[in-house]
Symmetry: D2
Subunit: 133 residues, 4 copies
Amino acid sequence: MIAQPSISRVRVRYAETDQMGVVYYSNYFVWFEVGRTDLLRAGGWTYREMEADGVSLPVIEARCEYKLPARYDDDLEIRTTGTLVSPVRVAFSYEIVRPADAHTVATGQTVHASLDRSGRPCRLPDRVKGLLA
Amino acid sequence: MIAQPSISRVRVRYAETDQMGVVYYSNYFVWFEVGRTDLLRAGGWTYREMEADGVSLPVIEARCEYKLPARYDDDLEIRTTGTLVSPVRVAFSYEIVRPADAHTVATGQTVHASLDRSGRPCRLPDRVKGLLA
Amino acid sequence: MIAQPSISRVRVRYAETDQMGVVYYSNYFVWFEVGRTDLLRAGGWTYREMEADGVSLPVIEARCEYKLPARYDDDLEIRTTGTLVSPVRVAFSYEIVRPADAHTVATGQTVHASLDRSGRPCRLPDRVKGLLA
Amino acid sequence: MIAQPSISRVRVRYAETDQMGVVYYSNYFVWFEVGRTDLLRAGGWTYREMEADGVSLPVIEARCEYKLPARYDDDLEIRTTGTLVSPVRVAFSYEIVRPADAHTVATGQTVHASLDRSGRPCRLPDRVKGLLA
C-alpha cells in the first residue's frame, strides 16, 4: 500500500526570488519543511507538540533537484511522503508541482534523526510511524 | 469611509524562528509583503502583473513595532490597509494578529515610491488608488 | 563626547537580492543585527555570552529608510552606534554605506528591551552602557 | 594535481539560527553560494561580471550532509572546489569547518548548468575552467 502524499500549498513570496527573476535555490528547503510539518499535523500530533514532548527530528541530509524555475506569486503544491529508514531515522520525499501548468518544479529528500530530550537517538514514535508510506 | 483591511493568513515556519524561540524580527517585513500583495490582488491586478506592465513600488521606508512574540506554527492574520501619501507615494499599514488569543503581535508601516519602467516617479495607477482607504 | 561608530563589513549575497535586481528590504535588518553584534563584541562581552549570562535584548521597534538600492556583491559598511533610551532600554542607530562610491544606502534604528532570564525588564548591564554614545 | 580549495569565512548570524538553538538547515546552501562566489572571484572575473557578460550558472542539484550543528556567532570556514562535469555543467563541493575546534560541520555539493543570455546551455567559459580541480 502506498500512502497518499500530504498536500501543502505555498504562494511564492517576493522575498523568495533573486535577481535571476526566479526563486533562490535554498528556499525550496523551507518549503520542504512546510510539507513535512503538514504531513505530521495530519496525524494529530504537530511537530510543535512533538518537540514540546521531547522528540526532535533534526535534518542530517537534504537534497533537491531543480527541474523548472518557480516564479514570484506562483501557487505551488508540495506533495510529501515519509519512509522509515531505520528505527531511529526517517526520510521525507517531496515533489513541488505548479498546478497551473501541471509541471514538476522540483523534487527532493531530507533524512532526519529521531532524538530524545537529551539529544540521543531514540526510536521514531509510533504516532509518526503511522503516517509513513 | 474606512476601507476594510485586506486579510491574509500565514503560518509561522520553523525557518522563521531564531534561537530565542520566537520569530526573528526581520521576518515580519516578509509577512507585510504578503499582506500588501494580497491587498493588490483583491483589485484584480496583481503586483506581478503591475510589474510586468511597467509599474513598481519599491519600499523607501519600513517600520515595525513588536508587541508580543510570534512562535513556530502560530496561525497569524495580517490586516493590511493602504493610503495615498502623495500622487507618487503610497503607504501600507499592517496589523498582525494571532486569532487563537486575539492578541496583536505586531504593527507596522511601509512607504513606497511609484516608479515607471525607466525608474522615474510616476502617478500611482488609478486601479491601485481604488484599493486605498 | 560622541563615541566612534562600530564598523562592520558585509558583502551582498545572491540570496539577499530579489527579482527587482536589488537587495530585498527585510535583509537590511539582518545587517543591522550584524552591526550591533559587532558593537557589543568590541566591549569584550559578546551577545552570545550575554545571552548565556541571562540578559537578552529583544527588538521592540525597528525601522529603516532606503536611500539607494544595494546590489549583489556590493561591499558595504555598517556604522553602528548605541544610546541608552531608559534604564531598561537601548537603541542602536545604523548607517549603511557603500565605500566604492561613498553613498549612504540606508539608515535605520532598532530599540531593544533589556530582559533577565525570567523575561522581566532589567537594567542594561554596565558593560553594555560603556559602549554607548 | 589537486587544486587548492578556495577559502571563505562567515560568522553565523542570529537570523540564521532557529528555535532548536542551531543554524537552520537551508542556510548552509546560502554559505555554499558565498563559497563558490569567492572561488570565481579568485579568477578575476566575478560572478556578477559573468552574469553581466551573459553567462549564468543556475543550480540544478544541491545537497548537504549535516555533521555537527553550527551555532550563533560561530566563525566558520567554507572550503570550495569546482569540477567540470560535462562541457556545459560544473559542480562545486563544499566543506564547512569550524576552525575553533577543527570539526567539519557540514559537507555538500551543487551542480550548475552553464547558460547563455538566451537561456540555452553553453560551454563553460575557459576562464572558469581554469579555476577547477
